[in-house]
Amino acid sequence: MSKNVLVFAEARDDELRNVSFEALGAAREIANGGKVIGAIVGADNHHLAEELFHYGADRVISAEHEVLSDYTNDGYFQAYLQVVDSVSPDVILSGHTSLGKDLSPRLAARLNLGLISDVTDFEVEEDEVIFTRPIYSGKAFEKKRVKSGTIFATIRPNNIASLDKDSARTGQVEFEQVTITDLRTILKDIVKKTASGVDLSEAKVIVAGGRGVKSAGGFKPLEELAEELGGTVGASRGACDAEYCDYSLQIGQTGKVVTPELYIACGISGAIQHLAGMSNSKVIVAINKDPEANIFNVADYGIVGDLFEVVPLLTEEIRHMKVGV
């Protein structure tokens, strides 16, 4: 049976996020002949909205209000609610991003919907959609369904394929002026912390450091490698506890769970809590002095050696290769 699927898209630094395209890809398949409606909420998204057509949307709604220039839970909640009201979808999809995590449960509670969070895969079986999601930080998975009524799920970045961009697919963006009242929480300021702007959960490449980096300065060679690979830097709890870096970089059972294309673990012993956060990465490289380190048990490639020797060599080698190509 065909379904109308509403996808809430999201922008960061004035660009649509990949996870929104991935959600559109999922929506296309789930719609099964129904319509895919892409929606974006903000103060002024004219220039972004159209791209949603290119990635598979049949209709695109840009819900706008001047107070929506920055995200607030109350403002966006009201906008989302009005979009849902006007579309009456059979399925709602959103990214399992900071925004998606903050907003979706509230929306689900208001609409009395079951919500399946942090989906990494799905299958369409006749009328049903069965979602796969990690539990115990990826030590196990569960398949879950919404019992009845509107299906609502948030999609984890980097896991579901988006459609190839098709610039020929286009249409008329529908603008919807939303009403926003009563903001109980207001945004005073945003302090941008990540210099690269690449969030760990969406990064294609992560170079992570553990206790073996020995100091805050020890992250320097890792940063250089990450930059060369267009990735970002992460850390184990050990490195965060030792105050070599900020907790926002922590990967593991407490901290972020990541699934990049390439994960390079430098001086990380591989405690089970850390492995839970990264072992579903596509390719894992481990660099560690200790040949017995647990991290080698999950690594696709391992180099036993001093990270301060290996990492700069690796950066250099990749730089050479790029020049050669």
């Binding site: 839970n73 109350d74 900071s98 925004l99 995590k101 903050d102 907003l103 449960p105 509230r106 689900a108 509670a109 009395n112 079951g114 399946i116 969070s117 942090d118 990690p134 115990y136 930080s137 990826g138 030590k139 196990a140 569960e142 879950k144 919404v146 019992k147 009845s148 109980r184 929480t185 207001i186 945004l187 005073k188 300021d189 945003i190 302090v191 990540t194 760990l200 959960s201 294609k204 267009g230 990735g231 900020d246 907790y247 926002s248 059972q253 407490t254 089970i272 072992s279 390719v283 894992i284 080698f296 048990n297 490639y301 391992g302 180099i303 050696g305 020797e309 290996v310 060599l313 290769m321």
Partner: protein
Amino acid sequence: MNIYVILKRTFDTEEKIAIQNGKISDDGAEFIINPYDEFAVEEAILLRDKHGGEVTVVSVGDEDNEKELRTALAMGADNAILINTEEVEEKDQHTTASILAAFFEDKAYDLILGGNVSNDNSTGQVGPRLAEQLNIPCVTTITDIEIEGDTVTVERDAEGDTEILKTSIPLLATAQQGLNEPRYPSLPGIMKAKRKPLEEIDYDELDIDEDDIESLTETVTVFLPPEKQAGKILQGETADQVKELVTYLHKETKIL
């Protein structure tokens, strides 16, 4: 200040996961306070010590949860309440949030704190759902909170960026790592915790309609990920190993 903390009992982060009879087996598993909820307990105690008032920890589950509630009491919470839902067959986040909403209906609270996710199901739904049901503002993933009168200033982690928000009490906030460093329960605190009140109520003592707490989602199956095969440890001179690695990465990932 009347502060409540919603607290979940979860597997210790060190536990390996096994499946038995189609379910996650808890045979011999060690349990802990969900680490994010532990941040919430610590923050509640710090806020109480600063502003006065009481900290009450609430947990939805069965009698086993008493251990984690006692731990919170030993850390310094004043009261603990267990809402027993052993009889509820199918539970999801909607169920838990609705039971808690019924519990809070007649309570006077200024602040409800919880973890931003649990380390088992990791949905992060219960906090925001509860806030919506109670019709109070909710801020998730907080890393700092300051209260002055009715005004609350919160710092919130948004994927590495820090948002600084102004809101007011009553408020529900969920803790992110970095909010504080939870204390170990002191040994004298543990001895004292024995004498602190731990109240148990059955969920059906609350003003609640069975239909309203029925789960909206269901689990079809649980499974373990395929075991990761140990990979290749490269050999030879470091420089050669690095070259070999780059060749592999070039072949096998789209990155290079």
